[in-house]
Symmetry: D5
Subunit: 149 residues, 10 copies
């Protein structure tokens, strides 16, 4: 009996390590980006039936688990409000240190509103650099102006 999407995420992580599956392989198999696919496998996005069945085959999931992959999950992937993992903390630190800068510059360009985290995509790439390779990330979110009424 599965009563929570997290149980399915655990099954996927366990199978991934045992079988040596790569996220980009899963993404190719279902024809979506590696970013969205990984988020889905980690319990943050909702798969359609075809995607869920394909993911189920790759990781060897039961029908019940495949059904859960098609249910909208309760989102939020971190165990604490401030992440302890150094890689994730650096992202939190960027929001902490550059937060007011981001706010000022988006408002200077667009006025009052937000950058959507829903109509949103992300692309993570390696940039070769003789001084040490860089992680380049492009975040793209629709600007949503505050409605006045």
């Amino acid at each position: 009996m599965i009563s929570d999407r997290n149980e399915v995420t655990s099954m996927i992580l366990s199978a991934k390590v045992s079988k040596g599956i790569k996220w980009h392989q899963v993404a190719e198999a279902i024809g979506m980006s590696k970013e969205w696919t990984t988020a889905g496998c980690l319990g943050q996005m909702t798969f359609n039936r075809a995607q869920a069945e394909r993911v189920g085959e790759i990781f060897g999931l039961s029908d019940e688990a495949v059904a859960w992959l098609q249910v909208v999950p309760y989102k939020g992937s971190l165990p604490t409000a401030v992440p302890t993992d150094p890689l994730l903390y650096r992202w939190y630190e960027i929001v902490s240190v550059y937060g007011t800068t981001i706010k000022e510059l988006i408002h200077e360009e667009f006025g009052d509103g937000i950058m959507s985290a829903i109509d949103f995509s992300m692309d993570i790439q390696r940039e070769a650099d003789p001084k040490g390779d860089r992680v380049n990330v492009v975040l793209s979110g629709k600007f949503l102006p505050y409605k006045s009424y």
Copy 2:
């Protein structure tokens, strides 16, 4: 008597609204990017003497305030650990929802380590889009592998 960089940030914000100054104008005046310049004016980065003096002229700051612009600040620009402002919350939400995804994909590509938030730059741009303009942000950080010894 100034004993804290926050007091200088308040002076800058007050002068900015009164005089109608734009952040990109300040950036042009000191010859740096608008992202780094804004972060500096908001008390997160350290200016060199020439930059600090130019910033002081623009905002009409005292010599004491200009001296403080050259002191390394205690960083962290948000009043609470989880930001209440909707624009900033969306960034925090990206870390919350996509955090484990970011971690998995950077490790899949680079192995164990982090994306630096120090050897780091950011570029915020408007992308015209008929369905509503988008905010595009490029984050670029050097990959730092964990040292084993």
Copy 3:
């Protein structure tokens, strides 16, 4: 020297009590809803120049304060994460008790996504009722589907 929108909110609240101004009068004067107008006066929304000047006249604000009314504020109007005020706590309680219900029903009808709090409006009305009048509130937010990519 004003360096923070909260100072302007304090000026407005002080003048409101001294002069006995009603929020709906301010709303009529600027031709907007009472909900959006009040949120603006309480430091959560951004006025345009004409609105800000009219608000400034009503509350007797300085030019500097009127300039701040046109600056996008750092939003979040409550002093603590869980509000202590009984009226506001009841709203928080609705999110706490009915939260998963709201989530299930919106997803059952619309699929994965959110109800926007930006492209959003609110209307608060009294409904006469012989068993005790009721507060009726209509919340209307655009549904934003999660982007897959």
Copy 4:
């Protein structure tokens, strides 16, 4: 041995996904609104005997589980004080951003008191809109004036 209503909620959620049951179908079966019925199935409301037995049939629950559906639960459906799920966070954000506005306007209309979260109902509807459908929610709570004595 069941010692907590949450265990029954887990059983219901598990059966719902396996059997593909919709909340509005459950509501129709017991003759109550979809909002109240869903809240009850999610462990926030108390069913009477007839309702509990009908819910038990639909989800295939044991007699012990049906007995628990008739026990007043310890309410509160969210795992953290500030919800991490984006859909639920937007509701929390509405309380955060519009909270003082809601307070001012209810007090302007009704005087000191609260909008009840107990003598309360909620109705969630889709509103078709060419710019994107909207979620419309009507909240209706009895106004309760503070007693002076």
Copy 5:
């Protein structure tokens, strides 16, 4: 310029100590209970005009302060979520230790619902006792049943 009810509470407390005023004297002067009157003077309740003016005379308040006494305050009188003061902590401890007991017994008698904290009164009395006098407190709140719909 007063922009917050807390400032009026400070004025009242300062005058109370300087002038040696007792709360029960204030209550008698305005013809209300000592419990409600004290809560009002401490910024938790709203006075009507006649009450506010009488309170203003007793404590020597300005007209502006008297106007604030008639404004619905943001309630919550404690500086921390868990009170540090021993007398108040004991009350918090009663909720902590007996909380589930209170819940079980009210539900056993009344079914699902709450004891109102709005349609509520409190009476604090000394009971002489040879083993040491006791504080007796009667709390009386209307039972509000949960609405099903």
Copy 6:
């Protein structure tokens, strides 16, 4: 193997729902008040041997569980510092809103000290009222003056 009083509380709660036992029946069976008895069954008070054995018979507990009922428990019955359950929150709210009032009035009557939560009793009764029945609660605690030395 039982290593924690909470396990016994779970057994009692499970048996109570399965067997339809009422708290006041347990109280009568052991000859104590319903308030103290319920608190004991919920793991907050210590039973003597005779009481524990009688409680064990009623709920069908093992000898080991009956032994644990006679061990002083680690007290505190709520899962979070600020309770999420609406009935219990109202009690917390009373402490929050009326806390300083309670403090002032007890000190005005008794001087510095506290109302004991140990030498303490509670009585919960229904009061019929044509405008809606009321929950009346009498709290009685010995006044303990601060020792000076």
Copy 7:
């Protein structure tokens, strides 16, 4: 205008350093223990009129400040729930590490109840020791058994 006992504590601390006063001298002057006297000067205990006036002379306080020394204070002398100061943290650590031990041994000796922190005294002494002098502290609190009823 003084509206808070903390202001008086600040005055006392300021005068103490300027004038080089010792706590044991104050205690001798008012004929009480150094522990209780210091707690009173630091805003945790209530002085009677004669004590307050003597304390006022020693520290050069105004009549208003002397009146505040006779008002029961809101107690709690630490700025954070877990103290950051190393000396105070060690005391907190003793409660953390030995807490369950203290609980078990007091209950083994006395049964269910507490050691009072109100009918309580403390004595701090230096014990000479060739391996390094020791701080010896005697805590004495009346045992209060839980009332059953």
Copy 8:
């Protein structure tokens, strides 16, 4: 498989209740004080081999459990930062109310430094008193002066 000292503590507590063992009996059996012995059994101190084996015999522990008793544990015996149990809270309250007093008096006598919680002992005794027996606790810690260099 035991992977945590807490599991051993649970075994000891379970056996203690089943077998009716007293802490002072364990202390006598291993020839140490009842305070240190209890702390060790509750997972806060490290036993040597002979002590661990004797404790193992008394409580009927496996060899693996006896091995864990000789491993330095992760210390801290309370489930929350501020304890909810009334007996333990009173100790926390003593630190909260008398904390600054303790700090001032130790510094007045010894200068800057701390009272050690490591080179530390505690003795808990009953003091007969006609007004109600008292719990007397002697804490003895080596004074450690701050090193300057």
Copy 9:
């Protein structure tokens, strides 16, 4: 089925106590420092295949567990944000008390930037001292200057 590195850490800790293995022996077996090796066994570092297999032999781990040792873990080894264990708390205290000192001196020497916790090593040694042996720790981290752009 293993779905989390923590499960492997538990297996290692359990085997370590049962078999009496020392960390420095593991370090010698894999030819790395004792600090890095211990951190890896405790779930904070990533082993390569050869190291993982050797660690697996020493502790008797399954192939699945050995595979997990080669997966980058979610880092952070402490159960609470402020550690309760006295040894670890002292390290936290050093950051709390000396934090601003460390910051000032590194900036005075190097300018704005950080000491890396990634390109980082640590060496823990005993220093014999007639007044009591000392723990000497050398921390070595690359200085990373803030990038300006």
Copy 10:
């Protein structure tokens, strides 16, 4: 009127920036290490009279401020429990990631006890390195074994 050491720290920081004073210069002037001297100037250590007077001359402090430099301060130099500043966070991260490692290795070498943060010194040095200079820090603390009794 100074009533808190923090006020003196603010004076020192303000004078330091205005006058361009270096911490190592202050250390040389009083003949102590730069680490201890800086900690003292930042309000964490206690100066003797001669040191305080020399520090007072350097920063131009009043006699009252010089007196406060000789008073043991309430220690703890960071504004939040988890530091937001990136340089300080890295130190906190070291405790978080390597904490259990440090604990295991010190216990493996020394047995149960702690590394003192009181009988403690620190030395911060630059190490030239062609791959980028390093910050080397030596921490030295006396080992304090837990007392058994």
